[in-house]
Amino acid sequence: MRNTGGDGMQKKLPFVLINPRNTDNCMSWHRTLLRINLSAGTTSTEALNMNWAGDYLGQRGLGSKYLYEEMDPAADPLGPENRLIFATGPLTGTMASTGGRYSVITKGPLTHAIACSNSGGRFGAELKNAGYDLLIIEGRAPKPVYLYIENDRVEIRDATALWGRSVWETEDLLLQQHQDPQLRIASIGQAGENLCHYACVVNDRHRAAGRSGVGAVMGSKQLKAIAVRGTGGTRTDNPDAASFMRTVQSINARLTGKAGYSRDGTLAMMDVTNSFGSLPTRNNRGVQFEGANRLNAEAMQTPNAHGHTNLVRNAACFGCTIGCGRICKIDPQHFSVRDKPQYHGASGGLEYESAYALGAAVGVDDIDAATYAGFLCNEYGMDPISLGGTIAAAMELFETGALTEADTGGLTLRFGSAEALCTLAELTGRGQGFGREIALGSRRLCEKYGHPELSMSVKGQEFAAYDGRSMQGMGLAYATSNRGACHLRADPYGHDFQTTDTAGKAEVVKNSQDVVAFMDSTGLCLFPSGAGWKLEDYCELVDTACEGDWDAARAREVGERIWNLERLFNLQAGLTRADDTLPRRILEEPAPSGVGKGLVARLDVMLPEYYQLRGWNEQGQPEPALLERLGLSAA
């Protein structure tokens, strides 16, 4: 492998025509990154650092490496010093199943930690097929702009007319303007413009790089959208394309468990967690929701009293053979949309996480209200998990008297109020009224009103849809996740559903964090690993497509390197061992029901063991021997 990093070329606006791509050695990296400096108004390309690609693979890993090398981790996440990186993986844009993923990597305004948010849809594959492995955005534009990429043609364009528009309006206007129905767009809505701390980058209308506020970083740079058209395709390391496709077909046949995801989507999880007692309910006061049967997969597929069925069909991202996405319609007679015909059409519906956050977390069992709030998240560009988690915290603050109607602008915020949910989603998306405070996220909201303990978050990021008392491994995974509470940074599910005993949890969490970090760097989705694929299947695809030998041992080492690099970023950003914790409720208040009834999260037992397994000292800092082994000593 050779280092081709370094050389670049620059031109001023309006656009540049450049093609430095290396085609002498076909492999599924394009070996090219596109750099945009919004302050200077310049675009340039550079050869990808292939030494880094060998060590970090792509997408999450490689994007994190560039972020770490290029910015001061202590910088203001909403300042021009922050980088915003769109990163594809080597398998993005290939015909490997689920090969449409990209990640947005930056410093997150919600957490002040490294943020890496992953999305599907078709945008990532289009960016890759335009010829770019990474897109690095620097600085801040003096006025709203959008980026137009058509293969080698790269333009920074005026977006004054788009500013103030929603994600959906922005996509419609750009498609109309460019008259290209195959243009793929990633954009922010009003929430990103208003610097909502958990604003998303949304692509293809309802797929999102959703967590940690990556959309607010885009908004802070006055970058409204990125519109991409790529027709170059993505080659693999194997000169015989049919051979790569045979590997793809062979590995696809191992997706033996995909039917459940296709049929019921991720929402199939709700009955499991509700039965088990790990469905966070009413700001984690409870772990089982009596209204779950009105939000679950059955409710989504069953006609209501008006004969309306929420689910229209399933949907798949680029190259996906699973199709877990939900396309849904709100009952036109529902109060939320009765006078709003613009919401009567089909769009991205509830997934398990959004059904939890906009349902059980706020005590709402109205599937149409939750679907409406989810539509607004896509339209305005907000993370539904953090929005729901913050509204849940506000409801508890209100019910305990810490918040009053004088604070909320007259709104009564009680658990179970579908009206309050819908109104707050509207206000937050638009940046109006009490919605401006909901946009802060639960940690800042609860601190402001004197009850920081009521924020169900880690490092400022709201919990996903699993309670860390009945699922002890998930509690540890939340506490140690580099991007704040997250259900997709480790894979403790199987172990947690087998036992609440803490023995072995630290090892499961540590090992799966490394594996997931690798998978997140391939360009593939994590869900095949829940539908039959093993780590070795991901490795076989990478190995077939990329230069070098990619086996499971190397994959684990790459994942471990990524995890530790993210950790170093966070330590240099000012985070400490004290940030590897859980809210007091999870540590001290026993779970009230379910399999984990009577349990609290035993972080006191698991965290020291986890640090030891990681090769970190008692302060949670990587030891020199570990850094040397992973080639991170210089870092």
Partner: protein, 83 residues
């Protein structure tokens, strides 16, 4: 004796015809054990799943000795993940 059986997630594909979305009724002879009941289901042998009996997690080592009762609720779910 009659029991309520819930097959969650991908397991619901193995419900008998005429069952609800993910629920059916099992009609078993008295003194049937959990192990015997699970063997009587049409779930493929290679399938992996976990068992809740009246909301309590039952380890597989206890299947042979757990005697089912009239009115029990049996919930089976695969080690599903994600969200």
């Amino acid at each position: 004796m009659k029991l309520r059986l819930k097959l969650l997630g991908s397991l619901r594909a193995f419900l008998p015809a005429g069952a609800g979305f993910n629920t059916t009724t099992l009609d078993l002879t008295p003194a049937t054990t959990l192990g015997m009941a699970l063997q009587s289901l049409s779930i493929p042998q290679q399938s992996t799943y976990l068992v809740l009996l009246n909301g309590e997690l039952i380890p597989d080592t206890a299947y042979p000795d757990t005697v089912l009762q009239e009115g029990d609720e049996l919930t089976l779910f695969p080690p599903i993940k994600g969200g």
